[in-house]
Structures are given as structure tokens and as C-alpha cells.
Symmetry: C2
DNA sequence: AAAATCGCTACTTATTTAGTAGCATATCGT
DNA sequence: ACGATATGCTACTAAATAAGTAGCGATTTT
């Protein structure tokens, strides 16, 4: 157990950089949730808001903007929906669903 | 496109509840990152802080508390480390690593 | 043409995170 | 034994983010 404080990231392989960006994105309130709801079907702004427990429109707007810039969500005739890239993210995130129920079981114990 | 605003979650199957808790946990700054760093090896408080770009100790403390209550992290002789449950979460999250690099590629295009 | 609904912005307040200082305990070298 | 250094962590303030509410201009419905 050594290591003083003054240490910057210095992740050698640089392959670590990408995952950090993902953490920034997903580690933000609502982003996963919004995508999760859109994974079912395209939704209009207000539908999406309703699905997300009535989250405030200002924040929803900001999230949509961020997810759109990240090319995970886009707008279409039927409303907001996931892009291919967005779908692929939800696919890799899908196992979380099952993990979640196992986790909940063990927490109750 | 219908649906007025006043609508609460009402997720029928109740299996949706668990994933929402996961979103609350992971959708919070630093939680994924902290676990990611611990996935490599056990770390002391200050080591962990250094690995996480010098995140403020007050926040780190809060995160550790939350992750500990969630039984994903625990303390040991060697420092803080992931529990079995925590490891299993990182395992299911592992594919994110590869998704992240693909995502980055397509973003640059 | 009136009423309702839409996507969204503008604002204020509440909650969360960042940033810094420092205390109490433990370990180390002399 | 003594001071020097390191550790885990708390306290406090400032900055950033989210919640909450009102409402505008545009479209759609009646």
C-alpha cells in the first residue's frame, strides 16, 4: 500500500480511453433509463417523459441532445428511437437484466 | 403519439424493478469507474482515489459506502476489493469494453 | 375558430459533486 | 522515544447538475 496522491490517469494501452467515455455517458442520471425505454419502441418527447416517471423536460431535452450527439439516439417520424449503435449498446447491456434480479435476491438475504 | 403527462411507471412484470435499481446505482458518477479500478486489484483508499483521477475523498467515501451497502465492494486486509457479486457485475459489464472501441471508431467517422 | 396537444425553452430551487484543509491514528527511520 | 511521513476519513464551501413549474409558438382535433 504505497502511492502518494499526485498521480494522473496514465492508462498505458489507450484502449482504456474509450471505456472511460462510456462511463462518463452511462454514469449520468437518466441516460441508461432513456435508452432502455426507447429499446422497446420509438417514443415522442412527452411519451418518453412519461415513461421516465415524469422526469423534467429540461433534463430530458439535455439527455436527448447528448445521446443524439453520441449517435445512440435519433429522431424519426415515429418519434425518438435508438440508432443501430444504440441498439447494439442495449444488446451488450442486456445481460444486466438478469444480473439485476440475482443481485436483488442476494441483497434481501 | 398519444399519452398525456400524468403517468406513473406501472411496469407490470415487476422484473423491471430490479433493473431500475441498477440504473440508479450505475447511473451515478464514479460508481462504475471505482468498480472498474477495483476489478484489477484491491486498492487502499488513497490508491483508489489516485486511480480515479484524484476524485474528491468525500465523494469517494460516499461511493464506497453505497457500493458496500450494495454488497458489491468490501474491505479487506489488502484494501478495498470487489465482492463475488461485484465481480459478477463486472463480468456482465465486460463486453462494454469492446463495444466502447467500436463506438469510438464510428463516432470519429 | 376554440380547445387541446405537441416539442421545447426559461426560469428557480434542490440535490449532487468538486475541491481543499485538516484531524486522529498508524508506521517509519534515527 | 521522537519527529516525520502516510493513511483513512470528515468538515466545510463552491461549482455543477437535476428537479420542478410555467408557458410559448406550432400543429392537430373538435
Amino acid at each position: 500500500m504505497t502511492t502518494p496522491l499526485p498521480n494522473k490517469p496514465v492508462r498505458g494501452s489507450n484502449s482504456g480511453i474509450a471505456i472511460m467515455a462510456v462511463f462518463d455517458l452511462l454514469g449520468r442520471k437518466w441516460n441508461m433509463r432513456v435508452m432502455w425505454e426507447l429499446n422497446t419502441k420509438a417514443l415522442s418527447f412527452r411519451e418518453l417523459q412519461a415513461q421516465c416517471d415524469g422526469m423534467s423536460p429540461s433534463v430530458l431535452n439535455a439527455r436527448i441532445k447528448q445521446l443524439t450527439e453520441a449517435k445512440l439516439v435519433c429522431r424519426s417520424q415515429e418519434g425518438y428511437k435508438l440508432t443501430e449503435l444504440g441498439c447494439s449498446l442495449m444488446d451488450t447491456l442486456n445481460p444486466l437484466r438478469n444480473w439485476a434480479v440475482e443481485w436483488e435476491k442476494k441483497l434481501r438475504k
